[in-house]
Symmetry: D3
Subunit: 143 residues, 6 copies
């Protein structure tokens, strides 16, 4: 019988500024499209993001060591975005409009290769909360 | 390459009274079936409900403008149920027993057509919390 | 040296319907005064209430046994209000308009004498949450 | 038309001690593998666990009576684990390393047969939170 | 017997960017004093702030109509800070370093006179959460 | 005019095992006094504890640098109690029955002298949550 598959999720919080603005549009079009999120000086959030990995449970009882997952998330995401302006200070977000949808995709691209190195385990979902009452889920490019 | 698909969720809260009671059953049968939820004068909750839409991410970076989703939820659901008695004051709930399951189905019926008007985006899930520790999920009639 | 004084708080949740309505006023005056909370068929909440006792710490390390406090709260409050209509089903609320302020006062009156029976310990505060974002505190008639 | 399928989730909390330790490994290997979770005297958590059942909605409007689900969870899980040491006091956890993954599997084995007795309804998911920011999901041996 | 005094609290959330920076200090001194909060492009938060009023309970059962408090908070605070950069976009914060402490004081100055117009009721406390785990309380200049 | 006084609070979480047991009492007396908390193998919690300091706001706008407070809490409390058995592994808790009341007092004794070294600032309150719904507050030996 194969080992049963489970999903392990860890959540971290970071505080960042951002502004929704498409440089290909006029100021007027940006205001119409993004409303108050287009405020020229920006605004900010206590973002929360969850990373879920899926895989079989080996003898250790752990799909993936939670401390390993925690460190990978800190190194790949938290260290680059906490107390930063997402549109100016984060190289891997350059050229993307900083919506929660695009944060999910960018985080996936950084985390999927790092997590692929752990036997049998794969990145399953990224969730980004912009506020307590609104969030985005991404299950990868093949979902 | 097609645009990646993501899911956007927004949550709202409303305060309402209700009573579980099936008019086709006797009072005794109702008491046995619904227990304290059958209290004749009703009881109530701070309900929370989440609406999830799923779709591809266009150039704007937004599956659906969160402000649009917020307004649709307010118009179609919140305005009709907040500070109301679900069994007496809400036309679209008439003839249904006001369990969280039936609220999910009724909310789906109102929201699915409104949300179908947005390119590539479709209603994916309705979640209704009756209390912090109990909730119901509905993925539509085809799930 | 006297034993140091501390405060112990326990929280419980109950689900109830209610309506704000003053029988001494006209319907029109009630609507103006209480707005949507005056809806004739009522509305409801998942109320949370906290009871704080204050007293010296004896050798046991407990101001008051948490299980004792839990049982007193269940007997004096929870059993009378959960899954009830506050304005019709609760004898000790009759003749009071069921605002969070008046719930605090009524809960104090029931709990203060019960808690006075425990050596050195006294009721210190009642807090009632109507929603997650609004609550009332009462420190007793002498505060 | 068949009755629509929905999912009902209930959450409970329990407080327990545990220690991650594999008796087949040396003390040094255990320390390396489980880090601070291998502390010889153990540590503990306020665990939260969610049970989700999935099924069609009958005339009653309830997939499964929430009170029935609550009682089953109390009898099968809560009564055995609350205020206990998971590695010493819980017969159905003996021989398992008490990770959140293994708790999910053990809870599934106890709950799936009990819940199979309710018409059309089946256990769908077990979620175990070890802390507010980390949890495991299990969808059963066939998922 | 005088009417008993109670305290009513309402909480609102806003999303804003800010930067801790004292123009009287050198860049190096600012970095040392404020650390990552001095990031030149700023960062941001989902701030939560609570306003507590204290007063006697009149016949209506309400220290102050919660809807009145909500509107005053929206007009005096929320409308000026939500989706804004606190250091550039908010006239009443100019010349203040935007710590949670200084936000409390500035909010007090705007709210105290507005709330003084309600009979017997006075502003009692301002609380500002920068994150879920850190907040500041202010009881006014005379406390 | 003197600088206004405010209160700054920071919260941290730790996971620990413990057992309520008074060695001066018989096993039977311990069972009666502490109930399930006397379980011989112990149980555990995700404790949360808050530390509040009170003081005037200087030119920096910060009563106390939040990073300083965070580090002091980690060094004096968190590093000694996280992933530990409170009754066996923590020297400064030896000889105390590990109720939330006694944790508050022990934490106060460690933190008050450390925090006294910051100009004008003093420890004001320790709060310890054993579960989400029960906590203890301590305002020091003179309160």
């Amino acid at each position: 019988m194969p080992a049963p598959c489970l999903e392990l999720t860890h959540r971290q919080e970071f505080s960042a500024a951002h502004r929704l603005h498409d440089p290909a549009l006029s100021d007027e079009e940006n205001r119409r499209l993004y409303g108050p999120c287009n405020n020229p000086r920006g605004h900010g959030h206590n973002y929360e993001y969850e990373v879920t990995v899926r895989g079989p449970v080996p003898r250790s009882g752990m799909i993936l060591d939670l401390n390993v997952l925690t460190v990978i998330m800190r190194e790949e995401i938290f260290a680059h975005v906490d107390h930063k302006h997402l549109d100016h200070d984060v190289p891997f977000l350059q050229g993307r409009i900083s919506t929660a949808e695009n944060l999910c995709i960018a985080f996936w691209e950084r985390l999927a290769p790092r997590l692929a190195g752990y036997d049998g385990c794969a990145l399953h979902r990224i969730r980004v909360y912009e506020t307590r009452g609104s969030f985005v889920d991404y299950y990868g490019p093949d979902a």
